[in-house]
Amino acid sequence: MTAAIVSSAPATGKGAARSATSALAKHRQELSTVAVTIPFFAYTACFLLAPTIIVIIGAFQTRDGGFTLANFAKLAEPNTISAFVTSILVSIASSVIGAIVGGLASYALVIGTKPNGLLRRMVSAISSVLAQFGGVMLAFAFIATIGINGIGTMLIKAVTGLTVNPNWLSSLPGLITIYCYFQIPLMIIIFLPAVDSIRPQWREACESLGGNTWDYWTRVALPILAPRFISAFLLLFASAFSAYATAAALFSQRSILVPLMIQGAMRNEMDPSQQGFAQVLAFAMIIVVAIVMMLSHAVEKRAGRWQ
C-alpha cells in the first residue's frame, strides 16, 4: 500500500516519507469526502431508490412473490390503452399550445425591454407561482370560471344566451385548456433564458449582410432556438403526463388518464385481479417519462454546441 503511494507520488527529490504522508492525507481526505455524502445517498436510497425498485419489482411479481410477465397483459386491455392514448393526447396538445404561447410570450417579454424591467419581473414571478399552481386549487379555479355555477358560464349565458355544457371541463378540450394553465407559465420560465441568449447584434449582423426579417428568423433565430424549444416542449410533455392532482379533483370516478388509473388500482389493491396493476402502470409511466427526458437531454446537448 505504502509502496504504491510512494511510487505514484511525484519524484521531486523531496523525502519519500513526506510525500507518503501527504498522499496518505489526501487519501484520507477523499475517504472523508465520500463519508460526508453518505447521509445524502442513504436518504435518497430509502425514499427515492427503494420506492422505484419496489415499483419495478412489483410489476414483475405474482401474488406470492414469483416472477411473472402476466401483469403486463393488462397494459393491452382496451381501457388501459385508451387511458394511455388520452394521457398522451392531452399532454401533447397542452404542451404544443403551452410551448407556442409560452414561447411567444417569452419573446414578447424580451424584445424591446430592459433585462430587469418591471413587467418582465412581474410576469416571471407570476409565472413561477402559476407553474407550481397545479393540483386541487387549479381545479377550483376552473370550476369557478366555467363550471356549472362558474362566473364565466353565467356571463356567457347573460350576454349571448348560450349555455355552456356543464361537462365541458371534464371533456378532452376542457382538460387541455386546464393543463395549458400551468404549461404556459412553465414554458415562460424555461424558455426566457433561451430567448435572452439571442443577441440583438445577430439581427444587425444579419441585416448588414443583406438579410430581411424572414431570413433572420428562418436562418438565424429559429435554428438557434429550435433545440431549446424542443427540449422545453419535452419537459412540458413530461410535466403534463405526470400531473395527477387536478384531474383527480375534477373526475372523482372516471379513470380516463393513466395517473387516475394508478389511483384506482392502488385503491383496489386487495382485489386479486388487480395484482401488480398499479406497479405495471407506474413502470410504464417511468419508461415514457424516461424516454422523453433522454430525448430532451440529447437535444440539449446539441443546443450546448451553440453556447
Binding site: T44, F47, R121, G135, V136, I143
Partner: protein, 291 residues
C-alpha cells in the same frame, strides 16, 4: 412590409434609422397583443375565483361570508365545518418546517464539501437530486405505499408529519438548483482555503464563512420547498393523510366557496413567497455582476 422593401432596394446597406423605428413600433404592437392574450388567459380564472367567493352560486347574493368564515375561523353561518381545514393547514405548515429542515441538513453540508473536493461526486449528487423530475410523484407514491405502511405500523405512526420524508425527495430538484446557483456564484474554494489557513476550524468555516455567503440561495431553496409542500396533493391523498390540499378537496365537496377562498389565499401566499424569491435572486445577480 416596409422592412422588406427597404432590404430589397438596398441589400447591403444598414437599415435607415426611421425604418428601424417602424420595426420597433410594430414589434411593440405584436408584443402588446401577445402579452395581453397570455396574461388575460392567466388572470381570468383568478378573477373568476375571487368573484365566485363573493357571490353565492345558487342564491346570487353578494357577501363576504366565506372570507369572514376563514378569518374568524367559524364556518357555522355557511353550515361548514372548518376543523378539517385547520387540521390540514396545520399539518401542511408543520410539514413545511420539517421538510425544509431535513432538506437543508441533508443538502447544504454535502453540496458544499463535494463542491470543494470532488467534481465526480458533485455530478453524482446532481444526477440523484434531479432524478425526482423523471420519476413522477404518482409513480413514487406506488412504491412509497409499502414503505409507509411499514413505517406507520412498525416504526412510527400515521401522523401526517411523516410525509416529510417523501416531501424532501419531491423538493430536492428545486432545492438543488437553488443551492447550486449560490455555490457557483461564490468562490467557495478560496474562501475555505483562506479561512483554514487563518486557523479556522471546519465548523467555524462552515457556519461563519460559507453559510453567510450562501444565505440567499438557502432562503430561495427554502421558499421553493415551502411552495411545493403547500401545493402537494398526490402523495398525501394517496397515502391517506391529511394536508392542506386534501382538506381543500374535502371541504370543496361541501362548501366550494370557502375552499376557493382558501385556495386564493394559498396562491397569494405563494405569490408573496416567489416575489421574495425574485428579489433575492435579483440581489444575487447584482452581487455576481458587481464582483
Amino acid at each position: 412590409m416596409a422592412v422588406n422593401n427597404a432590404d430589397n432596394t438596398a441589400p447591403t446597406a444598414p437599415m435607415p434609422p426611421q425604418l428601424r423605428a417602424a420595426r420597433a413600433r410594430r414589434q411593440s404592437i405584436i408584443k402588446f397583443v401577445i402579452l395581453l392574450f397570455t396574461l388575460g388567459f392567466l388572470l381570468v380564472p383568478l378573477i373568476a375565483m375571487l368573484v365566485f367567493t363573493l357571490r353565492h352560486p345558487l342564491s346570487g347574493r353578494w357577501s363576504l361570508a366565506p372570507w369572514v368564515a376563514i378569518f374568524t375561523g367559524n364556518g357555522e353561518t355557511l353550515g361548514a365545518d372548518l376543523t378539517v381545514l385547520w387540521q390540514g393547514l396545520g399539518s401542511s405548515l408543520a410539514l413545511c418546517v420539517v421538510t425544509v429542515a431535513i432538506m437543508l441538513l441533508l443538502m447544504v453540508p454535502t453540496m458544499v464539501i463535494v463542491h470543494i473536493r470532488s467534481r465526480a461526486l458533485e455530478r453524482a449528487i446532481e444526477w440523484v437530486a434531479t432524478l425526482p423530475l423523471t420519476i413522477p410523484a404518482i409513480v413514487l407514491v406506488v412504491g412509497l405505499g409499502p414503505i409507509y405502511r411499514w413505517l406507520s405500523a412498525d416504526v412510527l405512526n400515521t401522523n401526517p408529519i411523516w410525509l416529510c420524508f417523501a416531501y424532501v425527495v419531491l423538493v430536492m430538484p428545486f432545492a438543488f438548483r437553488a443551492i447550486a446557483v449560490g455555490l457557483n456564484s461564490i468562490d467557495v474554494k478560496t474562501l475555505v482555503e483562506a479561512s483554514r489557513s487563518l486557523g479556522a476550524s471546519w465548523p467555524k468555516v462552515f457556519f461563519k464563512v460559507i453559510i453567510p455567503n450562501l444565505w440567499q440561495s438557502i432562503l430561495s431553496a427554502s421558499f421553493i420547498s415551502i411552495a411545493v409542500v403547500l401545493g402537494e396533493y398526490t402523495v398525501a391523498s394517496l397515502l391517506g393523510r391529511m394536508n392542506l390540499q386534501v382538506a381543500l378537496y374535502q371541504l370543496g365537496q361541501s362548501n366550494s366557496q370557502i375552499s376557493t377562498a382558501m385556495s386564493l389565499l394559498a396562491l397569494l401566499f405563494g405569490v408573496v413567497l416567489l416575489v421574495a424569491l425574485d428579489l433575492i435572486s435579483g440581489a444575487m445577480r447584482k452581487r455576481k455582476e458587481g464582483k
